[in-house]
Symmetry: C2
Subunit: 352 residues, 2 copies
Amino acid sequence: MDLNVAVLGATGAVGMELLSLLEGGALPVAGLRCFASERSAGTSVPFRGGTVPVENAERADFAGIDVAFFSAGAERSRRYGPRAAAAGAVVIDNSSAFRMDPDVPLVVPEINAEALAGHRGIVANPNCTTIVALMAVAPLHREAGARSLRVASYQAASGAGARAMAELKEQTSAILAGRPAKAAVFPSPLAFNVIPHIGHFLPDGSTEEERKLRDESRKILSLPGLSVSAICVRVPVLRSHCVACWLGTERPLSAARAREVLAAAEGVKVVDDPGALAYPMPVLATGEGPVIVGRIRVDEADGAGVSFFVAGDQLLKGAALNAVQIAEALLARGLFPRPAGPEHGRGSSGGH
Amino acid sequence: MDLNVAVLGATGAVGMELLSLLEGGALPVAGLRCFASERSAGTSVPFRGGTVPVENAERADFAGIDVAFFSAGAERSRRYGPRAAAAGAVVIDNSSAFRMDPDVPLVVPEINAEALAGHRGIVANPNCTTIVALMAVAPLHREAGARSLRVASYQAASGAGARAMAELKEQTSAILAGRPAKAAVFPSPLAFNVIPHIGHFLPDGSTEEERKLRDESRKILSLPGLSVSAICVRVPVLRSHCVACWLGTERPLSAARAREVLAAAEGVKVVDDPGALAYPMPVLATGEGPVIVGRIRVDEADGAGVSFFVAGDQLLKGAALNAVQIAEALLARGLFPRPAGPEHGRGSSGGH
């Protein structure tokens, strides 16, 4: 079937990647509509040689839309998501609005596509850093059982959107010219600096980003008791996140076996040949679909475990590509339009 | 006593910081001589309004020098260090040449100044990342007993010297202007990138930097069996290293108690007030003597432990300042000139 597709947030960093993937033929697109809040409505975005008008989401009739990609922040997702779903669309939401809702599948297709079966019109796309880390963690978990996960992140400006990427460039130019760097999107200047603060701080001293990494990892891996400790840090990179990971495992895992398991995993590329100076870096991951894993070593400080380094394009696998892959997985499983019937019908409010 | 001081590598990034500290009155300097290999000899460096000629280390007579700061790489330290020590100087060596030599004290004065007592004319200044991490780890170890240490580093260009800092600026300008970035000092372009590769790779898949962090931590803390796992990463920061640390402890340690212990530790500044957006960053650490510690939280995945983030000026506490503090500690302990007598005399070759 060809899909009528909607995009909310088409002019953002993730939205532009989404349109680029759709132009490249990622999904069978019958028609495209773009939505924004009142402020941005009335403009247009280029698509397939023409332009698509940006409609006001507030007054929009979402009827006839099969899949709606939302990437305009949690507040707008909460505002327009349920309405789009009620009109019959499957909303694939890139924000944090619904991720921890037990009725909403939180999906990385290579890891837990089976969770899509229970969807009720909204599917959540996980946090970008979580996706990048779990693409490497999940295959190792299937092999040896995840016991604990420690993550130090190296997150690009793109994770904070297109304005943040522009701000990093402006700050960098200013510093090189001997002028002071101004910060508006970031809490401090990011150019030639690193900032261990992503998202708001929570009462326990963690940031929202660190909490997402913990809670979303547990949900995606179906390991509610997994110990996850994260230190999330913004670095002056424009695009592509990296994570340094220590994964404690239930069963012993050699570096060679971890490498084999990862090499066989879908969506993962092992680049781990120090002799050839081959290891994951943002410049290697940018524009690539698979995440790149390397620096794989055994870490047996507290029982079995491995450490490794992952790089992934935050805008692609960390956001737009994963969202498109969710749509492809729904299509492949016959879950478009969303399942009808007493349990999954549009009017159902029963638990799942 | 006033000291006759020599500097080898005076025009390097660390050498310039050393001269600046000496100009600022860090040590009672009676006289200053500067040395370099034949290629650089004949130039001069500014000092106290005048200039000091750079002498050829190859032909140099080190007689009369009390303390010689070496910061020109391991090869030159191995070449000239024993000669300077034989001439009566105490060599404070910033390279890796002698750090793991059991006859050479490896000293961070706030942590193990007592190791200086056994010196035989050469004292090693530890690796910069190791110093920055251990300044926070050591007080917590004294309080609760270190069991395991995991470190992900965010290392500035300064760690690779003045040429590396210039290269990062050139690469950044090139990328902002749409030109390709060229890498000579770094294995790949560092601008808007991160590189999980510092020092050569070793047969076990670790880098030299990661090995130094393990071996030097064990020696400085006198914990030969300490489990240390490091992932060392270069980031596009000009100066000041950061480390994300997970420290497993023998005894329970609350975040509040860890904060108290660190606040009372010499050379450490606790900046850990998320509500006021206060946490360690390279921009805060640059030019500061103390290392900055924050983001302190409990991590009990594998027993007692804490996680935290540290920023320290790589050129100051990570190198030049620690070297000067070693000289001050030697002076305070009456270990200048180096101890005479059968056990520590110049001609002694006995074990220690």
